[in-house]
Amino acid sequence: MFRLHLRRQWQAYWSEKRSLISLGLYIFLALWALAGGINWHLQMINVVSKPPADMITDRDTWLADLERVESGETVSAYAARPMAMTFLAVQAPSSLASLAYRHESIHPHATLINGWRNESTLFRRYEVQGASALRAGQLDLAFLVTVIFPLILIILCFDIVTREKESGRLRLYLSQGGSVVELVFARLFVVVTPLMVVPMLCVLAAALAFSAPFGHVLIWLSAMFVYALFWCGVVACVALWSNRSTSAALGSFVVWALIAVLLPSTVQFSAQALYPLPSRVSFLSEARDAEAATRRNLDQRAEAYMAEHPDLVVSTDSAVPAYYRAAYLANIDVNNHTAPLIRAAEEQRSSQRRFVKAVGFLSPALVVQGGIEAASGTGVMYSAAFRRQARSFLNHLLNEIGPATVNASRISSSKARKIPEFIFEPPRVPLGAYFGLVWVGCLGLFLLIIAKRKASHVS
C-alpha cells in the first residue's frame, strides 16, 4: 500500500506546477550558492598562496644576510636585524569552506608577523569589503539548507491532510481502508528526497573538487539528514493537528519564522546584550596610550628592560637606528597593557558561546548551522582561533627577538632557524558541538512518532 502511495505522490509531485517551480528555484539557488562558494574558495587559495608585496624581506634573504654577517662580511646596518624577521600567517580555507562561507569575508585570513607589530596593529588593511553587501551576507549552501530548505518543504507539504479533508477525499479514502500515516509519510518522502539530493550533490561536488576528508562530508550529510527529519516532523505535526489549510499554512509558517528567523537573531542579540564585549575603540585607546607612554620615557623603559635581562651587554653599535628599540619596547608595552582587555574580551566571548550553546537548542537552525560550520572549517570559532594563534606567535617572536633588538645586536642564525614558520592549527571541534545534531535528530524522531500516533487516530 505504501508503495502505491509513493507512486501516486511521485506522479503528483512531477505534475504539480507548485512543486516544479519550487524545485527549479531551489536547484537554481543551490547552483548559485555552490558556484559562489567555489569562486570564493579559489580566490582565497590565490590570496593565501602568494607572499604579499609588502613582505619586503623574505625569510631566506634575511637568513642569508645573517649568515654573511656571521661569516664576517660587511652588510648594511639595517640588514638581518631581528625586527625585520617576518613571518606570513595565513588561514587557508579548509576543504569544505566553500559550502559555508557566508560570513568569512568579515574576518582576516592573512597577516604579516614581525617585531614592528603589536596586538592592536597585527591585522591591518583588511576591511575593504562593501559594508552594505557584507551586511546582506552571501548565499551559501549552509543558508540554503538551514533557511530555504524548510520553507520549500512547508510550501509543498503544509496541506497534506487538510487538502484531502477539505475536498472530501479523506473520508472516501479512509472508508476504503486507507491509512493517513502512509499518506503523510509518502508525501513527505517524495518531497524531501529531491530537496535532499540537490544539496547532497553539491556537497559531494565540493568534496571531490577540494579533496575533503570523508568524516567532514559525513557530518555535513548527517546534519542535513537530521535537519530534514526535524522539519518533516514539524510539518507532519502541524498538518495533522490543523483542521483547515489556512491554519496549517499559518502554523507551519509561524514555526519556520520563529525557528529560522526570529530565534537565531534573538539568541545572537541576547548573547551580545548579556555579555557585551569591551569596545574595540577602547582597546585602541589603551594601546595608543601605552605606546605613547613608552615613547615618552624611552630611556627609562630601556633601562628597565635591561634590568629585567641582566645577562645583556650594552652594545655600542651606533649605526643601529634608535627607532628599532623604541618600536620594539612600545610594542611589548602595548601588548602588556592591553592584555587585561583581551582577557576580558575572551572571557565575555566564552560566556557568549556558553549562552549560545545553552539556548541554541531552542533553534535547530542554529544547532545545524553550528554543526555545518564546524564540518566546513568556517565560522567564528575558526577565525577566533586564527587570531589567537597569530597573537600568540607574535608574542613568542617578540620574546625571541627582544634582547637582541634592545641591545642593538642580531640574533644568531641557529636561534633564528629554531623559530618555526606559522602554521595554522584548526581548532579541535569538541564532540559537544555535534551533540546538538543528535538532539535535533531525536527531536525530529520524537515529532515523527507523535505525528504517526496522531495520524493513526485520524478518522
Binding site: 551586511r135 548573547a271 569596545s279 577602547s282
Partner: protein, 473 residues
C-alpha cells in the same frame, strides 16, 4: 454603514488571537531591541568620547619629537555616532569606526563591530528598525490575509452586498481599518523604540525632523504592504491561497530581497580582496618612489612649489630641510595613487549600492530599510563621508608636520625635535553627518519607489475590493 463596518473590523481585530499573540511578541522583541540599542549607543558614544580625548592627550603630550616620527604615530579619526543609530544601526556594524591618519599610507577604516559576534544568525541581528519592519510586516500579513477571503468563504460578502452597502463604504471600511491599525502600531512601536531618546542629551531640532520622517516612512511602507495583502485577499480563490501568496510576498520583501540584492551586487561587482589592495599600495605608492626613480618628478614639482611660494629660484638658498621636502613629495606622489586605488574601491562599493538601490524598487521593505539607515545617519553615505573627510584631514595634518620639519629642521633632518606648540597647532578631526537634503537626494529612487508602491497598492486594493463586493464573491 461605513462606521458599522469599521466597528466590525476593529471588533474582529480585537477578537483575533493571532493579532494579540504576534502583538505581544512584537512588543517584547521591540522592547528588548530598543533597550539594547540604547545601551549600545551609550556605551559606544562614551567609548568614542573617551577615545577622542585620549587621542588628543596622547598627541599633545607626546613630548619633544621629530615631526615625521610623530606623523608615523599620528592620530586617529573616530566616526561620529548619530543618536538614531540606537534605532537603526544601518551598515555601521559592518564598517570601520576609526581611521588611522598615518604618514605615507591611506588606510581603510577599521574596527568593525560585527567582528565581535560569536554566532552569526541567518538574518540581521535585532535592531528596533528591523523589528518594526520585518516583524511588523509579518504581523500585518498574518492579520490581514483573510480580511476579504474569509468573508467570501463564510458568505458574509454576499450578505454585505445584499444589504445595500455601497462599494465606497466597503472599500473605505476595509482599507480604513488597517490604516488605523498600522498608524497605531507604528506610533506605539516608535514610542517604544525611540522612548529612551527623551532621556538622552541630543540636539532636538534635526533629530525631531528625522524621527518624524522615520514615522512617516514606516507608516507608508507598512500601509503599502497591508494594501498589497488586502489586494491578495480580495483576489485569491481561498484563504489558503491568500495566505500562501501573502507569506511569499513577505518572504520576498522582508527576507529574500535584501539577500538577493547583496548577492547580486557582489556577483556583478565583486569585492577587491584585501591582499590585492595591499599589494597595489606597495607596488604603486611605496616601492616606485623609495626604490625606483618614479618619485623624481614629484620631488622636482615639490621643490618648484616651495621655491614659488617663497619667491626664490633655488631651494637650497632657503636653508630648509630637504628630507622633509622629499617626505612631502612622497605624500603628493602617493596621494594620487590612493585617489586612484581607493577611488576604484569606492566606485565598486557605490556600484554595489546601486544594484541594491535598483533591487529596492522591487521591494518597498528593502527601500525602507535603506532610507531608514539614511535618515538615521548610519548608511553608506555617512560612512563614505567619514572616510573621505578623515583622509582629507590626514593629508592636511601630514603636510603641516612635513612643512614644520622642512622650515625648522634645516641641518638637523630627522634629529630635529618639535615641541608641544606644534602638536597643539594641529587641528582636531571634526566632521558633520550628511544633511537631510543630501540624504533625500541620495535616496530619491527609494523614496519614489515607496510612494509608487503605496499609490499602486492602494489603487489595486481599491479596485479589487470594489470588484469583489459588486460581484459578491
Amino acid at each position: 454603514m461605513m462606521g458599522a463596518l469599521l466597528q466590525k473590523e476593529f471588533l474582529e481585530y480585537r477578537r483575533d488571537r493571532r493579532l494579540w499573540l504576534l502583538g505581544v511578541l512584537l512588543f517584547l522583541l521591540l522592547s528588548a531591541a530598543s533597550l539594547d540599542g540604547w545601551n549600545r549607543f551609550q556605551a559606544d558614544a562614551s567609548a568614542r568620547a573617551s577615545a577622542v580625548e585620549v587621542d588628543r592627550k596622547v598627541w599633545v603630550e607626546q613630548g619633544d619629537n621629530n615631526p615625521h616620527g610623530a606623523a608615523h604615530f599620528s592620530r586617529y579619526a573616530f566616526r561620529p555616532l548619530p543618536v538614531l543609530s540606537a534605532f537603526d544601526p544601518g551598515v555601521f556594524d559592518f564598517a570601520g569606526a576609526a581611521f588611522w591618519m598615518e604618514a605615507h599610507t591611506q588606510n581603510p577604516t577599521s574596527l568593525r563591530r560585527v567582528e565581535d559576534v560569536v554566532v552569526h544568525a541567518p538574518f540581521s541581528s535585532l535592531s528596533p528598525a528591523w523589528v518594526v519592519l520585518v516583524a511588523g510586516s509579518l504581523l500585518v500579513a498574518t492579520v490581514l490575509f483573510s480580511s476579504v477571503s474569509r468573508e467570501r468563504e463564510n458568505g458574509t460578502l454576499k450578505a454585505l452586498a445584499a444589504s445595500g452597502l455601497s462599494a465606497r463604504d466597503f472599500v473605505v471600511g476595509k482599507m480604513g481599518a488597517p490604516t488605523v491599525l498600522i498608524f497605531l502600531l507604528v506610533v506605539l512601536a516608535m514610542t517604544i523604540a525611540l522612548g529612551p531618546l527623551l532621556l538622552t542629551k541630543f540636539n532636538p531640532e534635526p533629530t525631531a525632523i528625522r524621527v518624524l520622517m522615520l514615522l512617516v516612512l514606516y507608516f507608508c511602507v507598512l500601509l503599502s504592504f497591508s494594501f498589497a495583502v488586502l489586494w491578495i485577499s480580495a483576489c485569491a480563490r481561498s484563504s489558503g491561497e491568500a495566505f500562501n501568496l501573502s507569506a511569499l510576498l513577505w518572504i520576498f520583501f522582508a527576507l529574500a530581497s535584501p539577500l538577493l540584492a547583496g548577492q547580486l551586487a557582489t556577483t556583478i561587482f565583486p569585492d577587491i580582496d584585501e591582499q590585492s589592495l595591499r599589494n597595489e599600495i606597495q607596488l604603486k605608492a611605496q616601492t616606485p618612489f623609495w626604490v625606483g626613480s618614479a618619485g623624481d618628478d614629484a620631488k622636482a614639482a615639490q621643490e618648484r612649489a616651495v621655491e614659488e611660494e617663497f619667491g626664490v629660484s633655488d631651494f637650497d638658498s632657503l636653508g630648509f630641510d630637504r628630507e622633509a621636502l622629499v617626505l612631502q613629495a612622497h605624500e603628493e606622489f602617493a596621494n594620487k595613487v590612493y585617489d586612484e586605488l581607493y577611488g576604484e574601491l569606492q566606485a565598486r562599493h557605490r556600484n554595489q549600492d546601486s544594484v541594491q538601490r535598483y533591487m529596492s524598487v522591487l521591494s518597498p521593505l528593502l527601500a525602507a530599510q535603506r532610507i531608514s539607515a539614511g535618515i538615521a545617519g548610519t548608511d553608506l553615505l555617512a560612512q563614505w563621508d567619514f572616510a573621505d573627510s578623515a583622509e582629507q584631514h590626514r593629508r592636511e595634518i601630514i603636510e603641516l608636520l612635513n612643512r614644520d620639519m622642512m622650515i625648522h629642521g634645516a641641518d638637523k633632518g630627522f634629529s630635529y625635535m618639535a615641541d608641544r606648540s606644534l602638536w597643539e597647532s594641529i587641528p582636531d578631526y571634526q566632521t558633520s553627518a550628511p544633511s537631510l537634503k543630501e540624504v533625500v537626494r541620495y535616496y530619491f529612487i527609494e523614496l519614489s519607489a515607496v510612494c509608487v508602491w503605496l499609490v499602486v497598492m492602494a489603487y489595486l486594493a481599491f479596485r479589487a475590493l470594489k470588484t469583489s463586493l459588486v460581484r459578491g464573491q
